[in-house]
């Protein structure tokens, strides 16, 4: 079949009659978005639709509809003339008219065909003529809208349909069925006759029972296998979809893990850095950093006051002693060799004095004070003085001594005690505070530098993530993460299912061997009746014939697939010219369909081929199917593609059209490739540099100028033959 001409009349944006002469090879119909490419394609789909008489008003040109007068009428039609064992034509049309109310009505749908012999045109039924020249199944492999529809093996019955239609082995089905029937009948007959044989009855019954068991087991295992195969196939399909984004998922996962890690680090560092210094001045008493000189000043002042007070007290005591004539007291007071002011009576305290006496050592100066020595006696006197003091004090308080003491208050003592309390550890801590603060501030500074580094890393990771998400525009971050999790689960399930399947297949093999063995045993039985022996031989012969047909059928499908694969690879090589191409492998699946895969030269599966790679792969298979059809059915048919190359780059486009141009095959491709933006006119115009390199026919379709996007009745596609 070869298309010669297509005439589209008043079909949607195609106003009036629009002619397209088609060349034997490639015809390019070039138009930008909205220029009418898909409408053209859908006009053909409408023409080829034999399922219903569609005279929908929506197919009428809005411009024509708006234009016609009341009670006037016109027609919508698509006409195709073609060669198929002679010149033929089909034309589908319906009439539309505007009634008195201005409403549009459609009527008189017709689908007419013509056979043209010489100058005579013989009218035929359009539907019958179309089906006989270009049947529904073939049409399935002819019209392709966009890139997604190119995979012809996307449903489970595709391979069977393809094999049935194009391989010419459909008759094998009948033969297999017939021989199987014969085998079954003869088997029943032999078994029935053998059972009558008294000698063999027991054996045959046993064999029959065992065979029945094995057959039932085989049937069960087959059922399990088909379920398992379906599962494996489903897993593979889903994994394949997921696989396409697996790299991105893993990268995202890694980046997210890094970001999370950095965020934790960031929070930790912020904790070190974000200090409330004002609170620390008070809560941690950092405000006392410069306090040591003041403490020192206090200690000196209080020590001096204490000394002064004791000096005055001593003088007072002397005066009283003299007055009271208590020389002993004077002697006691004057015990210190150089007439220095003695320590207060309560220093050192009672416990300390007792300890020094017991240990016979002065723990103030560190010198020994052996019992009986001056030093020892001094300590004993000092302790006695302490005890006297306590005793006298209590006596005085009991006797209510009327003599007024020199000092009636002990505030200086209070201050002195506080001074003593603050010396030692507290004083040391105060002195160290400056260092503590300096260390802490240095630590914070260092963490600030760490934070800067972490923040920089975070920005880099966020950028990387952004970049990654830009590269997978169809997927959100959530989808990618879900994808990653699903993939892991599915991978595991798929592996398990594959293992189960292997085991089941092994089990099936064993059962089949058992069955074969039982059959053999059955065939080995020598019947006593001569006629039964003949039956038996006939059955054995029929069984072999049946097996031969089964094997032949299977081999035929395998051969068909092999031929398809070979042809597809020839086209793949052509379509990809110098580019990487890989090898197409078509694999039969459990569900009776097939899967097209691309393998690299070292025989590893390319799980996620690029857009152009995938398109050329599928197109190669389509060309191969078409080629096989030509070979097997001795008939050719055109391939019609609507925008198949949207994922191609500029370079790939040129090569692609050049190659299709040179393939001996009628193709119509609707595309917006080969348009170039013109800065001066600010429009996309034909790229004649590229078009002139092609030898094919080229049509330009575009909206006629001056249209109003809001008003459909102003939109009209105009067509122009460029070459």
């Amino acid at each position: 079949m070869k298309l010669n001409k297509i005439i589209i009349k008043n079909f949607r944006s195609y106003y009036g009659e629009n002619y397209f002469e088609l060349s034997d090879g490639l015809t390019l119909v070039i138009g930008d978005n909205g220029d009418g490419k898909t409408t053209f394609f859908e006009a053909l789909e409408w023409l080829f639709d034999t399922s219903r008489d569609n005279k929908s008003e929506s197919n009428i040109s809005e411009m024509r509809k708006a234009e016609i007068e009341i009670e006037d009428s016109d027609e919508v039609s698509v006409t195709m003339s073609f060669e198929h064992r002679g010149e033929k034509e089909i034309s589908k049309k319906f009439i539309f008219e505007k009634d008195v109310n201005g409403a549009i009505r459609t009527r008189d749908f017709s689908f007419v065909g013509y056979e043209i012999v010489g100058s005579e045109r013989y009218r035929r039924d359009g539907k019958i003529l179309l089906e006989s020249c270009f049947d529904t199944v073939v049409r399935r492999y002819c019209l392709f809208k966009g890139e997604r529809e190119l995979n012809v093996f996307d449903n489970n019955t595709a391979l069977k349909t393809l094999v049935d239609t194009f391989s010419g082995i459909k008759q094998f089905d009948n033969l297999v069925e017939l021989t199987s029937y014969f085998e079954q009948q003869s088997d029943n007959l032999v078994t029935k006759e053998l059972k009558k044989d008294k000698k063999q009855e027991a054996v045959i019954k046993r064999l029959e029972s065992e065979l029945s068991k094995v057959q039932s087991a085989i049937s069960d295992v087959r059922h399990d296998i088909s379920i398992k195969e379906k599962a494996v196939s489903d897993y593979e399909t889903r994994l394949r979809v997921l696989e396409e984004n697996q790299d991105a998922c893993e990268n995202l996962q890694n980046i997210n893990a890094r970001i999370e890690q950095k965020r934790i680090e960031q929070r930790k560092l912020m904790g070190y850095i974000n200090l409330d210094y004002n609170a620390m001045l008070l809560d941690d008493m950092w405000i006392l950093r410069a306090f040591p000189p003041i403490l020192s000043e206090y200690q000196k002042k209080v020590a001096a006051l204490s000394r002064e007070k004791r000096k005055l007290q001593k003088a007072e005591d002397e005066r009283i002693a003299i007055e009271k004539g208590k020389q002993e007291a004077i002697q006691e007071i004057q015990k210190l060799a150089n007439d220095a002011t003695p320590l207060p009576w309560n220093l050192p305290d009672k416990e300390t004095m007792q300890e020094m006496i017991d240990d016979e050592i002065c723990k103030v100066c560190g010198r020994p004070a052996k019992k009986g020595s001056d030093a020892y006696n001094f300590m004993v006197n000092k302790l006695n003085e302490y005890l006297d003091h306590i005793r006298k004090k209590s006596e005085i308080s009991q006797q209510q001594d009327p003599v007024k003491p020199l000092f009636e208050n002990t505030y200086i003592n209070e201050l002195h005690t506080r001074s003593i309390q603050l010396s030692g550890d507290t004083e040391q801590e105060l002195i160290m505070l400056a260092t503590v603060i300096a260390d802490r501030l240095a630590f914070v500074q260092s963490r600030k530098q760490d934070l800067e580094r972490v923040n920089k890393d975070l920005i880099e990771d966020e950028d990387a993530k952004m970049q990654l998400l830009i590269q997978t525009p169809d997927l959100t971050e959530e989808m990618l993460i879900k994808n990653f999790k699903d993939f892991k689960g599915l991978s595991d399930s798929s592996k398990r299912a594959s293992l189960d399947l292997q085991e089941l297949k092994h089990e099936l093999e064993e059962l089949e061997a058992q069955k074969q063995d039982l059959k053999e045993q059955q065939n080995q039985i020598v019947p006593s009746n001569g006629i039964v022996r003949v039956y038996q031989k006939v059955h054995i012969a029929l069984e072999r014939i049946m097996k031969a047909f089964e094997a032949a059928k299977d081999r035929n499908v395998a051969e068909f697939i092999q031929t398809l694969e070979e042809q597809a690879n020839i086209y793949l090589k052509k379509l990809n010219a110098d580019d990487f191409r890989g090898v197409i492998k078509i694999k039969r699946t459990a569900d009776g369909s097939a899967r097209i895969n691309l393998y690299s030269s070292n025989d590893t599966l390319i799980a996620n081929p690029g857009g152009a790679q995938k398109t050329t792969m599928y197109m190669s298979v389509l060309f191969a199917i078409s080629k096989i059809t030509t070979l097997k059915r001795d008939e050719d048919y055109p391939l019609i593609f609507d925008a198949p190359t949207s994922s191609f780059g500029d370079f790939k486009e040129d090569i692609f059209y050049n190659i299709i141009d040179n393939i001996d095959k009628q193709c119509i491709i609707f595309t917006k490739d080969l348009l170039r933006y013109n800065r001066e006119t600010e429009k996309r115009e034909l790229d004649f540099d590229k078009i002139n390199q092609l030898s094919c026919s080229v049509y330009r379709i575009q909206k006629s100028p001056g249209y109003d996007e809001e008003d459909l009745s102003t939109i009209r596609t105009i067509t122009e033959r460029i070459k």
């Binding site: 809560d283 405000i287 040591p292 206090y298 002042k301 006051l305 009636e408 200086i412 201050l415 400056a434």
Partner: protein, 189 residues
């Protein structure tokens, strides 16, 4: 037994000049808000009003600068909490108590106040007089500190909103005990 000087002092509330109420005390602390409303007061540099007073006091102390309070009692105000409660509670989130700090304030006041403690012990002057003298020292140092802050704010109203603004002031003071120990420790033998 007579009450300790420290305890007498700790019962007091120091005075300060009203002029700092809005510009400094309320500006920097939750002064006047009451404990229950503390949670609402966000972004304040300090909690209670006395905290600003302590800061002002130490600024004056370390600079060695005192300034008499204005001689007009109508322009004077005192803090709500006596010294004994300062720094005792840590009800504000993220803060901790610092009860010891007031002891150091007391020490500084004793060191810096010119007062005849011998006469006090002899009973020639009342403890009240002593505490009055200590309080005056405290108020005068703080008053100078408030003026110091006010000057900073005139130049730049946001001066103290840098997180390290106050800390930096306290880091400028010398922390070493420069004077050599003039007075030898008393000989014990």
């Amino acid at each position: 037994m007579a009450e300790k000087l420290y305890d007498l002092w700790a019962k007091r509330n120091p005075n300060w000049e009203k002029r700092f109420e809005d510009s400094i005390i309320k500006n920097f602390s939750d002064y006047g808000k009451g404990v229950t409303k503390l949670g609402e007061a966000k972004g304040k540099l300090f909690g209670a009003g006395y905290e600003v007073f302590i800061i002002a006091f130490f600024i004056g102390l370390y600079y060695g600068q005192r300034r008499k309070l204005i001689d007009d009692s109508t322009k004077i105000k005192s803090l709500g909490q006596p010294i004994q409660y300062w720094g005792n509670i840590d009800s504000v989130k993220g803060r901790k108590a610092y009860p010891k700090l007031k002891e150091f304030i007391f020490i500084a006041l004793v060191a810096k106040t010119d007062f005849d403690f011998i006469a006090l012990d002899k009973g020639l002057v009342t403890p009240r007089k002593a505490v009055d003298a200590l309080m005056q020292t405290m108020e005068e140092y703080a008053n100078w500190g408030f003026h110091f802050m006010e000057d900073k704010l005139i130049d730049n109203p946001n001066y103290f909103y840098r997180e390290t603004a106050f800390l930096e002031i306290f880091l400028t003071f010398d922390s070493s005990t420069t004077e050599s120990t003039e007075d030898e420790p008393e000989s014990l033998d």
